[in-house]
Symmetry: C2
Subunit: 438 residues, 2 copies
C-alpha cells in the first residue's frame, strides 16, 4: 500500500527523475564538483544541534541485538557534509568542491511538494579558514545552468543576504534580529498586517520599525536597483552596508552572466539557522505554490575542528519536489518508458539463440534491445512492443532480416552491423508536454 509522504514513481516518472539527476550531474561535473555520498545516518544529538529545531528527525533502532547508539536519518546533506569535511580534512584539497545526490528524510506533515523521503542534489564549496566571496555568485550561476538545461518552466533564483536583513533589523532597534527574521518569514502565509502586529507583540519593535521591516521585505529587483530602495528606507548600520554590498555584487555578476535568472528578493529568509551571508530560494514560474525548488546559502560556522574553521556555501536542488511538479501537473512526457529501442522477435524457441545474437550485435553498437519473451505469432510480439513503448521490432530470418518502425508501419531490410537508428530514438527523451495536443 502507498505510504503518504514516501513517493514512488512509475518507470515513466523515474525517467523524468533520471533526466533531472543526469543533467544536474553533467553541469556539476563540468564545473569541477566531485561526487561524494555520506552515510544516511548521523548521531541524533549532532542532527538536533545543527538543524532547525522543528525539523522532525527519524531515529533508527535495530529490532534485535544491541544498540547502535542513538542514530537518526539525515534531514539534509549539508550537516553531514560538515561532519564529513571535519572527519576527512586531512585527505581533501581545499576549497573542497563536491556534489551529492541522496535521499533525505523529514517527519513533516506530507502535502503538495512536501515529502517525508525525498532526493536532493547539492553542490557546496568548503574553504579551510577562508572562502572567497565570488563562490556565492558561482553557486547561483551553476544552478541556473542546470535549470536552463532542463525541459521545465522558467526558474528564478531569488537571492538575499542574512547580513543585510540582520543589519537592517539591528538598525531599526531590534534586540533579537533572529526573532524578527522568524516573524518576517511568515509574511507570505499570514500577510503584512499580521506580521507588523507580531513584530510589535513578539519581537519588541515599535510600529514604525515594524513597518520598515515589512517594506524591506517588499523590495525586489533583477539588477542592483534594490540598493537605492533600501537606502531610501533611511536605516543605517555597518552590517547592513556589508550585506547590501554583497547582495549587489551577487546580483550584478549574475545579471551580467545570465540576465533574469537571478534576482534580488529581500523577502526570502531560509528557515535553517546556519546561514550567515547570501541565501538562495528558487521559484518555478507559474508553480510558486509548491515552494522553493532550489535553496541554500553561505554558512561560516557549520564546521570546525578546534580553532580551524571551514566556511562554506551551497545550493540544493529539490529533485523530488521538482519531479513531483513536472509529473503532477503534466508538464513533461517521456518519448518511451523503457530504454529498449528494438525488440528482436523470436521465430520459435529453437532459434531464440539467433535472436539473442542479433540483439548482441545491436547492443555492441549502443542500441538498447530486448528479445521477445515468447515465440508468439509476430502480431502478438508486435503488440508486446507496443505495450512497452518499444519503437522498433526486428525480424530475424535466414533469407534477409527486416526492421519495422511500429509507429509508422514502415518496414525495411536491415543488418544489425550497419542499421542506423534515428538519433531521437536512440534513448528515451524527456520533452515538454505540448499543450496544443488534445
Amino acid at each position: 500500500m502507498a505510504l503518504s509522504g514516501f513517493p514512488e514513481w512509475l518507470p515513466e516518472g523515474r525517467q523524468v527523475e533520471l533526466a533531472v539527476l543526469d543533467t544536474a550531474r553533467k553541469v556539476f561535473e563540468r564545473h569541477g564538483f566531485a561526487s561524494i555520498e555520506t552515510r544516511s545516518v548521523e548521531p541524533v544529538e549532532q542532527l538536533l544541534r545543527k538543524g532547525e529545531i522543528d525539523k522532525e528527525v527519524y531515529a533508527i533502532r535495530r529490532l534485535q541485538g544491541d544498540s547502535d547508539g542513538d542514530l537518526a536519518l539525515h534531514f539534509d546533506l549539508t550537516v553531514p557534509l560538515a561532519r564529513y569535511v571535519v572527519e576527512h580534512a586531512g585527505h581533501l584539497a581545499f576549497p573542497f568542491r563536491r556534489y551529492q545526490m541522496q535521499k533525505v528524510w523529514r517527519g513533516e506533515r506530507p502535502q503538495d511538494g512536501r515529502f517525508r523521503e525525498f532526493t536532493q542534489a547539492d553542490i557546496d564549496i568548503i574553504g579551510d579558514g577562508s572562502l572567497g566571496f565570488h563562490h556565492e555568485v558561482e553557486m547561483a550561476l551553476v544552478m541556473a545552468e542546470v535549470f536552463a538545461a532542463l525541459p521545465i518552466p522558467r526558474a528564478v533564483i531569488s537571492v538575499n543576504n542574512r547580513k543585510l536583513a540582520e543589519g537592517f533589523y539591528l538598525g531599526v532597534g531590534a534586540s533579537d534580529p533572529a526573532a524578527v527574521l522568524r516573524v518576517v518569514d511568515k509574511i507570505d502565509k499570514i500577510g503584512a498586517d499580521k506580521v507588523i502586529g507580531m513584530l510589535q507583540s513578539e519581537a519588541g519593535l515599535d510600529a514604525q520599525s515594524a513597518r520598515l521591516c515589512v517594506e524591506l521585505a517588499d523590495i525586489r529587483s533583477e539588477d542592483t536597483s534594490f540598493v537605492s530602495r533600501v537606502r531610501a528606507l533611511g536605516v543605517s548600520n555597518d552590517l547592513l552596508d556589508e550585506g547590501v554590498d554583497e547582495l549587489a555584487a551577487v546580483v550584478a555578476a549574475a545579471h551580467a552572466a545570465n540576465p533574469g535568472a537571478v534576482v534580488a528578493n529581500l523577502r526570502i529568509a531560509r528557515g535553517l539557522d546556519y546561514y550567515t551571508g547570501t541565501v538562495y530560494e528558487t521559484e518555478l514560474l507559474g508553480h510558486e505554490s509548491v515552494g522553493s525548488v532550489s535553496s541554500g546559502g553561505r554558512y561560516d560556522r557549520l564546521a570546525s575542528k578546534g580553532s580551524r574553521v571551514f566556511p562554506g556555501v551551497g545550493i540544493s536542488l529539490g529533485v523530488t519536489r521538482l519531479v513531483s511538479v513536472l509529473l503532477g501537473r503534466d508538464l513533461v512526457r517521456v518519448t518511451r518508458p523503457v530504454p529498449t529501442a528494438v525488440l528482436v522477435a523470436v521465430n520459435d524457441e529453437a532459434t531464440r539463440v539467433d535472436s539473442e545474437r542479433i540483439a548482441g550485435a545491436l547492443r555492441a553498437r549502443g542500441i538498447a534491445c530486448e528479445v521477445a519473451p515468447q515465440a508468439d505469432k509476430f502480431g502478438k510480439q508486435i503488440r508486446y512492443a507496443e505495450r512497452r513503448g518499444i519503437p522498433y521490432v526486428w525480424f530475424p530470418s535466414d533469407d534477409g532480416q527486416q526492421v519495422k518502425d511500429i509507429r509508422s508501419g514502415d518496414q525495411m531490410p536491415a543488418d544489425p552491423i550497419t542499421w542506423v537508428i534515428p538519433e531521437d530514438d536512440r534513448h528515451p527523451r524527456v520533452i515538454p508536454t505540448t499543450k496544443e495536443t488534445p
Copy 2:
C-alpha cells in the same frame, strides 16, 4: 566520527563506485531494463514475513509527533520490488524488466565485506502468471557482461538450482529438505565432517544419505558434465530431474555465449528462503573470502494479488562490497580524484570575469573546468591544480592564451574554442593498479 558498518568513500573511492554504477546502468539499459526506485521503508511485518528471519531490520520512528505506523528500512531490493509490482500492476507491462540501484540496511555485525548500510544494483524480470525459463539464463549473462566491462579481477558466477537440491534431499529420504539445505549451507564454514554429523543429528538423515548430500555439494563444472556426476550418486526423484535439466540448460547456454563466466556449483544455496529455482552466487577470483559480490535467483511465490501470481528472477550486484574490495586491496586507481580537466588561472580579481568566460567556452565543449579560487601568483595556482589532481592549467592573457600540462610541463598557445583535450584526460578513469609500479 566514523560509524562501523556505515562506509564512506573519499572522492577517489566514490569515483570507483560511480564507475561501477555507471557501467552496470549502461549494460542494464542496453538489455532493456528500466530504472525504478522504491521508497526506503516498508511496514515491519511485511519485511519480517518475506525475509530471512535472522536479517536484522532497522525500524524507524519520529522523535516528535504521531507515529507513522511500524516502518523499517528495507534490507534488500527484491521484497520492495514484489510489493511495488503488486501495487502498480495495472500500470506495468509484463514481463516487467527493471533495474534498481539503492542503499539497503541490515543490522548485522560489520566485518570484511559486510556492512550495515550498502548499495545494491539489481535487475529483475517479473512475469504475470508465468515467466519463461530462458530469463534464468539471461540474468547470469547480463551480470557477466557487467563484470567483463569493469577493470576488476575475473568474476565467476556460480549457479545451482533449488529444485535439484530439494529433489535430491527428498530422494535420499529427508523429511525436511529446508533443514538439510540450512546445514549444507554451513559446509564452507564448519567443514564436511561436521556437516555430515549435523545432517544426522539435526536433519534426521542416515549416515549414507548425509554423505551423499555432502558429495552432491562437491560437484562443480564449467559445462554440463555435472549431470553425469549427479546421476552417478544414484538418487532418483522427479523434482531432482527437473532441477538437473534446468541447471544443465542454464550452464549450456551460458557456456556457449561466454565460456567460463558461469559455472554449475552444487554447493551454493542462498540463505534467503524465497528462491524456488535457479540460484546465483559470484566469487571474485583471488578474493573469495569477502563472499559473493553478486547473488540472486528465481522466485515463484514472492508476489501475488489474490489468485494472480507474479513469478520473478533477479540478480543483485553488491556494489559496496565490490568497491570495498577494489579500494581496500588496492586493485584499482583513478586517473584523478576530481572531474576537473582544466584549472583556468586568474590574473587578478578584477579580471576574474575573463577567466570565467574562458571556462564557460571550454565547458560548452564538454571540458570540465574550474576557475582558480584566488588570484595568487601563478606558481601557487599551479600547486593548487597539482594538489587537486587537475592535469591542465590555462593562462588567460590579452596577448595570447596558453595551456600547460602540469604533469609534463609542456606549455603551448591555445584557444578555448579549438583546443583539443587528449581523450584519456577528458574524464577521470578507473584503471587497474599496475602491480609492477613500486
